[in-house]
């Protein structure tokens, strides 16, 4: 363990350009995936919270179950779709960062949708009569509720980011762990483990943890400040 911390420290101090590239790509892929997934999943989660429709229970159950979708399975689905022999093969997206973003979007989407559904549903319980009294349609209520639940939803989005940045199964399959092109923190860790270079693997792990902690920390500080101001 000592060795791993020393390695992590050395890597950070050296600012190795290859490591920097890997870190940048990790952040770029996971943050893009989180933004795309949230733009889709937040309104969808809110809509499920607001509308009663036949089969709603089934949809909610499926969403909750999909939160546990194994990354490898998500990766395989994307692989089969983007493969030259697959339906979207012509796009030539396999083994690119875009493919990794797509796989991570699939992983994050159910988390953000399911959790935002729950949060918005609770808020809707509180706001419903007032909004209906003001003549707010359900469609119009979606952005209002999402905006008013923003502090809780930040946590949801961060959970999505955590899952995206921590998973290795999906990005390994669809990205291919190509050096300098699709290698991210987690696949680099897997590779170093494969080489038996455990201190380096763990050192990279510590850096990944620091990155995720930094993103979370910034979100927390900003969120807390706003929350205290707005009640």
């Amino acid at each position: 363990m000592d060795n791993a911390f020393q390695t992590a420290l050395r890597l950070i101090l050296e600012m190795d350009p290859e490591l920097l590239g890997i870190v940048t790509l990790s952040l770029r892929v996971s943050l893009t995936a989180v933004v795309v997934a949230s733009i889709i999943a937040l309104p969808v989660g809110a809509a499920i919270a607001l509308w009663q429709f036949p089969g709603r229970g089934v949809v909610v159950t499926i969403l909750n179950a999909l939160m546990g979708l194994p990354p490898v399975v998500a990766g395989l689905m994307v692989y089969m779709t983007l493969s030259r022999a697959g339906p979207l093969g012509e796009l030539g997206l396999l083994f690119t960062p875009t493919a990794m973003v797509i796989a991570q979007v699939i992983l994050i989407l159910p988390i953000v949708a399911a959790l935002s559904r729950q949060i918005v549903e609770e808020l809707w319980g509180e706001y419903r009569e007032q909004l209906q009294s003001l003549g707010v349609s359900r469609l119009r209520a979606i952005p209002t509720l999402l905006w008013d639940a923003r502090f809780s939803l930040v946590t949801v989005v961060l959970a999505g980011f955590g899952r995206a940045s921590a998973e290795v199964g999906a990005v390994l399959i669809v990205g291919g762990n190509i050096q300098g092109f699709t290698r991210v923190m987690t696949t680099a860790i897997a590779l170093e483990t494969n080489k038996g270079n455990l201190p380096l693997a763990l050192g990279l792990g510590i850096i990944l943890l620091l990155l995720v902690a930094t993103v979370n920390g910034v979100a927390y500080v900003v969120g807390e400040a706003a929350r205290r101001r707005l009640g």
Partner: protein, 270 residues
């Protein structure tokens, strides 16, 4: 609504930035094995190739079985693996138009220093395998349909051990490095390619106990994919790589790679 629109613009911009890196298409995707990647060979030879041709090579390192599958589906432009029998089948089935020997190294049999099955005194590789089975000493197998796994299964066959099984035989379904990590943890025997072993750091009590038999010879071959099956692939660039590997420059690049003072791959193109 304005927020939503602004967010959308931001997303498109970010997506654009992510994809922009792909605009340059002077590159090929090579499906190859973990042993070549993990040993650092590609990091040594690809820059030389790039220097000469301006073509970049993106390596997707997987097990040989998966590399074949990637080739069959047309997800890579070219394939470099180590399973001569499988490679010839691949050509016969029309997935590749050409196969060429590129280089070789060898497999070594690794185990705990105290060598409970006493394989260091074996007469042949087959004898070493027979001794492990006889002693029912723990053995970790890749179990992932890789080139190494296929070679290992052939060794059991020649040792007269049909379908090795039992508590001592652990089929992991993992890459070479993970299998070595497990073997180190369990003090088990394991067969590995020499390149991965030399590059491997987490050895603990493991050491090479048997090596040198011709049966442990590990041949790598380059496969040119069939343009009729996958007309969209970059066959001309792939062919340049294929030719370069077999050329004097390529062969020298392979021969000059040293890790920890050892030569890991021996060029043998005809």
């Amino acid at each position: 609504m304005k927020h939503l629109f602004r967010n959308l613009v931001a997303v498109v911009a970010v997506l654009g930035a992510v994809t922009a890196a792909q605009a340059d298409d002077r590159y090929i995707t090579l499906a190859s094995t973990t042993s070549t990647e993990a040993s650092g060979l590609f990091e040594h030879i690809i820059p030389e190739f790039r220097e000469e041709t301006g073509i970049d090579v993106r390596v997707v390192a997987v097990g040989t079985g998966q590399a074949f599958e990637i080739g069959r589906r047309g997800d890579a432009d070219i394939v470099l693996v180590h399973d001569t029998t499988g490679e010839k089948e691949f050509v016969d089935n029309g997935y590749a138009t050409e196969r060429a020997d590129v280089m070789y190294n060898d497999f070594v049999i690794i185990g705990p220093e105290d060598d409970p099955a006493n394989i260091s005194e074996a007469d042949s590789a087959a004898d070493a395998f027979a001794r492990i089975a006889e002693a029912e000493a723990p053995f970790t197998s890749r179990g992932d349909d890789s080139g190494t796994h296929r070679a290992e299964l052939r060794m059991w066959e020649s040792a007269g051990v049909e379908d090795p099984s039992g508590r001592w035989y652990r089929e992991l379904g993992s890459g070479m490095g993970e299998t070595l990590n497990t073997a180190a943890g369990m003090n088990a025997y394991v067969m590995a390619d020499r390149a991965t072993w030399v590059a491997f750091d987490n050895r603990q009590d493991l050491t090479i106990l048997y090596e040198g038999d011709e049966a442990l010879f590990n041949q790598y071959g380059s496969l040119l994919l069939n343009p009729e099956r996958h007309p969209d692939l970059k066959h001309d660039l792939a062919e340049q790589w294929h030719e370069w590997l077999l050329s004097e420059d390529g062969q020298e690049a392979i021969a000059s790679y040293r890790l920890r003072g050892q030569q890991l791959f021996f060029p043998n193109a005809e």
